[in-house]
Amino acid sequence: MSTLVASFDAQTLVDAVGLGAVYALMAVGIGLVFGVLRLVNFAYGQLVMAGAYTLALTSSWPLAAGIAMCFVVVVALSLAMERLVFRPLRTQSPAVMLVATFAIAFLLQSIALLKFGALGKPASSLASLNQAVSFAGMDIRKVTIVAIVVAVAALGALALLLRRTSIGLHMRAAATDFHTARLLGVRANTVIAFAVLLSGLLAAAVAVMLTVQTPLVTSDFGLKETIIVLVGVVVGGIDRLGSATLGGFAIGFMIGLLGGILPTDKSVYLPSLVFALVILVLLLRPAGLFTRGRASVVDRV
């Protein structure tokens, strides 16, 4: 009996890490753009949705071609969003930009509903990743392993990029102080476009992994995840990429863990429990869980 409980716990733990990994990738995607633009992209979930629809519509294609197409579509949409929405709004306050991306999110979602209908499209080309492999007494789904590996690889590559290349240096400079960075010769449009490009690549990767878990693609695909990740980013601390990422991971991990622990008849209250926990954390640490220093009601200028 005791071994059963222990293995169950370890399994829950691994699944929770897998979910946290996916949410961490979304948090990075949102955090990268926030760093350079001070823009919270609520429409990030609709980038994921576009990727998921692409995978659904290319189900008959070879797998690699479908995934490649997913990346192309998401990155293109991401860049188009930057050009058509983010750029004209660049001088506006963060609040206006947030509301604007909220509008874009609903717009894209409504377009998808109009175009593809309410019933949803199946994206089953990667269904094989749902199979479990037995490892040390646990049944781990392949997609969980893929998610963890992809997240670690992507975050590692991103860290190298930000620390070891000149465009990475420019991005960090822009995130610290955009105006001074521009005065010192950092090219605003290049840095922003690059951040948006990276954020698009991450959204495409997230789309691939989420379609494995939720193979039926509907117009609200990615919406719930975006809300959770955004709240997670705030809990972690929105001002730094590292704390934002940890926040995304933490909220995914908590959802996975509590989802595994809660008795079945109480599991419908999982969102309430998680978000109540969020409010509690914010009560204790208003500046974010993974930040140092005091909170300020005044936004950083």
């Binding site: 919270v40 929405v85 004209p88 709004l89 506006q92 306050s93 963060p94 609040a95 206006v96 947030l98 509301v99 604007a100 909220f102 509008a103 874009i104 609903f106 717009l107 979602q109 409504s110 377009i111 509903l113 109009l114 919406l223 809300i227 955004l230 709240v231 980013v233 705030v234 929105i238 419908v268 209250y269 969102p271 309430s272 978000f275 109540a276 969020v278 409010i279 509690l280 914010l282 009560l283 208003p286 909170a295 300020s296 009601v297 005044v298 936004d299 950083r300 200028v301």
Partner: protein, 340 residues
């Protein structure tokens, strides 16, 4: 006259009266859109009290609308049908029913109390973080109302609620919300909060407690949202959790932004124009005759409203009214008499 700009209050109020009166000329199937517009004015007015005056976005106000709607709904279902309608509810809810007017007061009180409680931790966050964190409130409210059958119908409908929000009640409710919002923004508290919106650092430097001022506005906004929710449920006669969730949050924010988020007049104009457009498009999705047969595919409504909201934000971020209150100063100068 110069000290108290009566136009700023009377303009919106007369507009609401005009909408109410206009509604009486239409058959009931169309009239409901007028009532709906007036209730949207109440919700957007409530949203404006916080968002407009503080400059902080909130997606959570709809949860206070939801609390108000469900509170007013479950307490007014007639006593004889209640045990069948809400079999699992707490005895105190199941066995007692109150009048519609009392239920509105209850809705406002609960909305305000709930807003105050969640506002305490959330208003301590910086503006942007506070806005995003309000999603947590929306999600909790939606989740609990949807599954906790001891306080309501769960995923089903609260139905058989007395339909007591007629045109007169809707007009009066909208006017009440607008008048309270106006009184607040003219008050000392309102001015303090508006100062924090214009320059948080300077406001803090002259001794304004940003957290406290935002919390007052959040609470007042919650109470007005609750009231508006109560009017909403008494208009439809029923309510489900999905009616007071993300789509309503989107629509009401769109209304506020399209009208102009930083003035009460903008909130009223935005609510009336966008809900009018929304109603028309909703009809057009069913097929409507406007000289020619217009039949739009289902879902066009949100595409158009979303496009409008995005376009306004990109091209004219201060909204239709430019964030200004109604002023007849130009006309006054030429005619030489006070119009209001």
């Amino acid at each position: 006259m110069r000290r108290f700009p009566l136009t700023q209050l009377l303009g919106p109020v007369l507009l609401l009266v005009a909408v109410g009166v206009a509604g009486t000329f239409f058959p009931r199937a169309i009239e409901i859109y007028f009532r709906n517009s007036l209730i949207m004015v109440a919700i957007v007015g409530a949203l404006y009290v916080f968002v407009g005056n503080s400059g902080v976005v909130s997606f959570g106000q709809v949860s206070f609308v939801a609390v108000g709607a469900f509170a007013a709904g479950v307490t007014t279902v007639p006593a004889d049908v209640k045990p069948a309608a809400l079999p699992d509810a707490f005895a105190i809810i199941r066995d007692h029913s109150i009048g519609s007017f009392e239920s509105l007061l209850l809705a406002a009180a609960l909305g305000g109390l709930f807003a105050f409680l969640v506002g305490m931790p959330l208003m301590r966050l910086s503006g942007l973080a506070a806005g995003i964190a309000t999603f947590a409130v929306l999600e909790i409210t939606h989740n609990i109302l949807r599954y906790w059958t001891k306080i309501g119908p769960g995923a089903g409908l609260v139905s058989l609620v007395p339909e007591t929000t007629g045109l007169l009640q809707a007009t009066m409710g909208a006017i009440a919300v607008v008048a309270i919002a106006f009184a607040y923004q003219r008050s000392r508290l309102g001015r303090l909060l508006r100062a924090t919106r214009e320059d948080p650092a300077a406001a803090q430097a002259i001794g304004i407690d940003i957290h406290r001022q935002r919390l007052w506005a959040f609470t007042l906004s919650g109470a007005l949202s609750g009231l508006a929710g109560g009017m909403l449920v008494h208009m439809y006669g029923s309510i489900s959790t999905e009616q007071v969730y993300l789509e309503l949050a989107f629509l009401t924010l769109a209304m506020l932004v399209v009208g102009g988020a930083s003035s009460l007049f903008g909130a009223v104009i935005g609510a009336l124009s966008v809900s009018g457009l929304d109603a028309f498009l909703g009809q057009a999705e069913e097929g409507v005759n406007v000289g020619f047969k217009l039949d739009l595919p289902t879902g066009t409504r949100l595409v158009v409203v979303g496009t409008l909201m995005a376009a306004v934000l990109i091209l004219r971020p201060s909204g239709i009214t430019g964030g200004r209150e109604l002023s007849l100063r130009l006309r006054r100068r030429t005619t030489g008499k006070a119009t209001a």
